[in-house]
Amino acid sequence: MTILVILLKSILIGGLVGFAAGMGAARMFNAPTVQALGAFRTLGEMNACEGDPASHFSFGLGFFFNAWASTVGAGAFTQDVTHRVIPNWAASVLLLKDKKVENTVHNPKKMAIAGAIIGIIVVSFLNTTASAIPKSLQVTAVKVLVPAAELLINIVMPIIFWLSAIDAGRRSGLWATIFGGLSAMIMGNAVPGVVLGILIGKGVDELGWVRITKVMFGAVIVLFVLSAFFRGFDIQMIESFKLQVPSFITNMHNVFNIK
């Protein structure tokens, strides 16, 4: 009985998440003019498959085994279900019918529908199969795909974005370097900072220091200050410089620690 309830709920959840993940991923190919929902890693990895159905499928498959193992072991899907499995499998299915990515992978409507179907299947499967999965496949996926994806996201993507920013002009190169370095320290990955640097640099190139660019610059500063605070970067930094942490900063952090 419980398994039936779980199955029915999973179908609904999978449909919702799959629809949104597919639609959001397709919109990424039109960002930033169209606001998308996804991740830079998803964008980079989907581009790596170059619109080839077999590549999209096998890339998703590797992470599917990883997600399956994690679900069986701990009940947690891993973020890969929405970031990798659903978008890549939806793309793979659509590409079987039409090879043109502009008509399929970049089309939010088709990706939403394909994503919803994949989502229903994947979520129902993960939630209902508590039985064992081939251990060797899981281990290979973890030992091969995870380190490769980490290198791509933490090293290769920041460098490619950084070099593009430097090549795009002195101003975007300057701000990308400043924000990229800060973002690597504060947020743990340089890509968001480099992208913001390109945004500010190219914005100022095209418009000058007008109200919009100033507002955006202010927002970027606020973003960095708040993320630094909430991630405890301020305390870490003071301690790394071998200084005493002033008590008012510790008190401020305590205010936001919900017990």
Binding site: A76, T140, K259
Partner: protein, 221 residues
């Protein structure tokens, strides 16, 4: 019926428009929040990494929800601001961690269990939260990016996004060679077959590695 028009972007249509974004985030959040309901009730189905879900689990087991709440909420906050500026709202940080872990942890810490234990209520709560988050982003964009005709370096970012993907294939092979010799050989064979077949080598490298990994298993440690 308008299949011929799909090539050009109709920014007024639901699929590309600015106004549909809050709905998109709402649908995603509804599903993810309900996923947390599944985890809370059946111990399966949370949409996040084991380490992050473990923070919520710590609260469920009678500890404090503080870690999950602070971690999730701060992620959500940073991602909302970043997402509106760069044009891609990070799904993992904003929805999976913020809405899926942070907000439930806050609600549970103040003793408000109903939105998590009741399935219908969990979907509704997620939907409303997503609509609010998507609305904030749309609003921020209205006063920044959308007020001008500048592209803010979209071409630079797209170019970088496209070229970074090419690195994945070689990275997978390098990573496979460090896992074990058979897995490395498998990934090289797979990549070569895909290359000669004029397909991206990443797919072949993964399949080859997994096939050889099935015959010559390695242990995780």
């Amino acid at each position: 019926m308008d299949e011929e028009k799909t090539m050009e972007i109709d920014k007024k249509s639901f699929w590309y428009s600015e106004w549909s974004f809050p709905i998109l985030v709402g649908i995603m959040s509804a599903g993810v929040f309900a996923g947390t309901h599944m985890y809370f009730v059946y111990n399966v189905g949370a949409f996040n990494e084991v380490a992050i879900v473990a923070m919520l689990k710590a609260g469920m087991d009678g500890g404090s929800y503080g870690a999950a709440a602070a971690f999730g909420a701060s992620f959500l906050f940073a991602r909302i601001l970043e997402g509106s500026l760069v044009g891609i709202l990070d799904l993992g940080g904003s929805i999976l961690t913020g809405v899926g872990i942070g907000i439930p942890a806050i609600l549970l810490s103040i003793g408000w269990k109903a939105p998590i234990t009741n399935f219908t209520l969990s979907i509704t709560t997620g939907l409303v939260l997503g609509l609010i988050i998507g609305g904030i982003i749309t609003l921020v964009r209205k006063y920044t990016i959308n007020q001008s005709n500048a592209t803010f370096g979209a071409d630079v970012m797209m170019g970088a996004g496209n070229s970074s993907g090419r690195f994945l294939g070689p990275l997978i092979i390098i990573s496979a060679t460090t896992a074990s010799i058979p897995i490395g050989i498998g990934s090289v064979i797979g990549a070569v077959i895909f290359y000669l077949w004029k397909k991206p080598i990443a797919g072949g490298a993964i399949l080859g590695a997994m096939i050889f990994g099935a015959f010559f298993p390695v242990s995780l440690k």
